[in-house]
Symmetry: C2
Subunit: 144 residues, 2 copies
Amino acid sequence: MKNLIVCLLLCSPFVLTAGEGDNPKDAIRKVLDAQVQAWNKGDLLGFMEGYWKSPDLSFFSGNNKAAGWQATLERYQKKYQGEKKEMGQLAFKDLSIDLLGTDHALVKGRFQLQMKQEAPTGIFTLILKKVPAGWRIIHDHTSG
Amino acid sequence: MKNLIVCLLLCSPFVLTAGEGDNPKDAIRKVLDAQVQAWNKGDLLGFMEGYWKSPDLSFFSGNNKAAGWQATLERYQKKYQGEKKEMGQLAFKDLSIDLLGTDHALVKGRFQLQMKQEAPTGIFTLILKKVPAGWRIIHDHTSG
């Protein structure tokens, strides 16, 4: 009996990594919630965990494109961690999550940032893909 | 023999509507090319053929959202066909088409408009879905 339990624990598909047992929409929402929590602790690298760590990640903002995870990180560092910059407090609003087949999703929403002096806001389109690490943003288009 | 040929013509999967026999990327490119051709003839309704004719179409531009095909058409009419407005000549550049599963695609690119006095440009993210009518844009995010 003990062996059976050990076997079940080791071999069963119910041995899941965090979030893997969620339905896709819940799993995606957790990724986005984790991004917001990381941002609001000033943890930019934690926020970047939501993005696909690949040179094929693409990030569109206004009239500019960043190609790859590293360039996306550097754009965030420059915009929010440079001299006299602040990250502020982030919130995502009006989120909608649509699954596109089994391995991709379209997420639409609005971001709001509460800074000391201003409160920038804008809208975004995210494409997420289910990769081995979990659901990750493979394309981000943000404008405001 | 004649009956066999008639049957083949009527029943065969090779009886295709226009573009249906293309591979998905070619079919998507034809939809976008047709949009550009329609725009450049001043045919806004022809251009709108590329969009999913549904209240669930979403169109994001800058900090604004339009919900549905009709609202998207009206936004284009107001912006490009109002008093003292012009449609100009449209070109799509730097197009990339990535299939997301079998029935969806992510298209990224840049638009360029040549007007009489100015030449606005911007970048876009399109999500297309294969619907019974063919590949159609179900979400457009444009910024510049």
